[in-house]
């Protein structure tokens, strides 16, 4: 009996230690962000890698999700004679929940995994130790631009995802189901409230972007300096980011009020 209990205790201690390390890492990144140098060049480079190179996957996914919502919504609403509310359904679903959450999950899978793998490889090949020996703080030079780029790109990608989704719903409702374009757009406009919906969407996107940036860089930065360690860091970065996003989504929704 002692072994499972001690194993549980060991795992609990490791978990608490990891939380403490993440808190210390977050403080170090925050300190690096507020003090010079700004690393603007590195930030722009990372914004391109994490944001611009994610555009295609975000647009295609947003379009597909919007089309599915339009199709499912139409077939459900038409039973109650409420097919003119497809725009409202698509818009609210995307802006309140699906836009920020699915964008965050896609960013975690594409940009988050790439970030964790890149930093993990830098650990394994002693590039970060090389910087330390040059009296250069790796958190300032490597981590800060990546975390900031993730924080800034996630809300922008979320906006793009939502727009593509709304367009996808429009294509299905108006183009395929011969719905009324005016009803789609007016339903959307009347249902979406700036404070309750758009602000909440942006808040979620900013919080998710912060989480994704911190988790991906933290996992890469603390990976074991082996190929197996890099692989484990990449996998855990995606898993932890995804679960954190889903849990945080519930917390924000509950606090904000539906």
């Amino acid at each position: 009996m002692a072994n499972p209990i001690s194993e549980l205790g060991y795992k609990a201690l490791k978990f608490v230690q990891a939380l403490g390390n993440l808190a210390a890492f977050t403080a170090a990144v925050a300190w690096a962000i507020v003090r010079p140098p700004s690393r603007f060049g590195g930030f722009v480079r990372e914004l391109y890698k994490l944001g611009v190179l994610s555009l295609v996957i975000i647009c295609v996914s947003g379009l597909a999700v919007g089309m599915v919502l339009g199709l499912q919504g139409y077939h459900t609403l038409v039973r109650f004679g409420a097919q003119q509310s497809v725009g409202e359904l698509v818009g609210l679903s995307l802006i309140r929940e699906l836009g920020p959450v699915l964008t965050a999950l896609l960013v975690a899978g594409r940009a988050g995994s790439a970030t964790a793998a890149e930093i993990g490889t830098m650990v394994a090949t002693e590039q970060l130790n090389g910087l330390r020996m040059l009296s250069i703080d790796p958190i300032s030079l490597v981590v800060k631009p990546k975390a900031l780029a993730m924080l800034c790109s996630t809300p922008l990608l979320t906006g793009l995802f939502v727009l593509c989704g709304i367009y996808g719903g429009y294509v299905v409702d108006v183009g395929l189901m011969k719905g009324d374009p005016g009803s789609y757009m007016s339903g959307l406009r009347s249902a979406v409230d700036f404070h309750n919906d758009i602000e909440c969407c942006l808040l979620k996107a900013v919080i998710f972007g912060t989480l994704l940036g911190l988790i991906a860089t933290f996992r890469g930065y603390n990976s074991e300096p082996t190929s197996e360690g890099v692989s484990a860091a990449t996998t855990s970065s995606v898993v932890i980011s995804s679960v954190s996003v889903l849990l945080m989504d519930y917390v924000i929704t509950a606090l904000w009020g539906v």
């Binding site: 140098p37 490889t121 830098m122 090949t125 002693e126 590039q127 130790n129 090389g130 910087l131 330390r132 020996m133 040059l134 009296s135 250069i136």
Partner: protein, 279 residues
């Protein structure tokens, strides 16, 4: 083709310009000393109460079997690893008790050549070598450009400014890493296996380059190596780690040592060379 070090007149001038900036050092003093240092990785004890020293302005080579803690000594000196007990003295400063700020100041006196180069993958050769100067923010871009090119010429790498580390051969990679390590004019250069994976000709060129830097800049060098031939060619001082014991001496003293374990260690290398010759 990588130009020979001695062929590069511009390179020599670059090194001599750096040498002029170096403070004169007295030979005979200890640049680095380890005093009763104990070190473990998890459950594995690397060494227990190890003491050794490295003379100023000389080339010291650390030899020993695999897992004897040779690279760990360099990491302790650079503050990249923390000893469980004992002192690691660089000049008069004990690395084991330095804060992060103190370590950063100390590391400006140190250069380190890592086994794999440790150059930033996404930076070009020029950007990698310029990085320490840019971070110090004491020079304008024109001055940085001039100094980077002089240092690259000094190590025998020219016309490679825009290449990425992944596009370089093993020998060129080490030379670029060496240029990055010495551009900040360190007092002590730590080299971790600078010859591993290189062909014999490139090894000789790398040896010549390190000796030239040592003689012209009077830079203290601490080199970890497995290559016994290189050791005898270039070492002023040898630190041999054998079964937890430390044996120090000059190359001549080691070559003619009467201690059985030392004689056995060095004879293994010659036995293999003899066997290869016989084949």
């Amino acid at each position: 083709m990588v130009p020979s070090v001695n062929e590069s007149e511009q390179g020599r001038q670059g090194l001599q310009a750096n040498a002029a900036a170096q403070a004169p050092q007295q030979a005979g003093q200890q640049a680095v000393a380890l005093d009763r240092v104990s070190m473990s990785y998890g459950q594995r004890r690397v060494f227990n109460s190890l003491s050794c020293s490295f003379p100023q302005g000389r080339i010291s080579l650390i030899l020993g079997g695999s897992g004897s803690g040779k690279s760990t000594i360099l990491r302790l000196i650079g503050g990249l690893a923390q000893a469980q007990s004992g002192r690691v003295l660089v000049g008069s400063e004990d690395v084991t008790h330095l804060s992060q700020g103190g370590l950063n100041v100390l590391r400006r006196k140190l250069g380190m050549l890592f086994q794999g180069g440790a150059l930033l993958d996404s930076y070009s050769v020029f950007e990698n070598v310029a990085l320490p100067l840019r971070e110090q923010r004491r020079k304008n871009p024109a001055e940085i450009g001039t100094e980077v090119r002089a240092t690259l010429n000094a190590v025998g790498v020219s016309d490679a400014d825009d290449l990425l580390p992944g596009e370089l051969s093993g020998g060129m990679l080490r030379r670029v890493a060496l240029a990055r390590a010495i551009i900040g004019k360190p007092v002590i250069l730590l080299c971790d296996e600078p010859f591993s994976g290189l062909d014999p000709l490139t090894i000789r060129r790398m040896e010549a380059l390190l000796v030239q830097i040592n003689r012209e800049l009077r830079m203290t060098m601490i080199i970890v190596s497995h290559d016994i031939q290189s050791t005898f060619r270039m070492a002023d001082h040898i630190v041999l780690l054998l079964g937890g014991k430390v044996i120090e001496g000059t190359a001549e003293q080691m070559r003619h040592s009467q201690q059985p374990e030392v004689a056995e260690f060095f004879s293994e290398g010659t036995e293999i060379a003899t066997a290869r010759g016989a084949i």
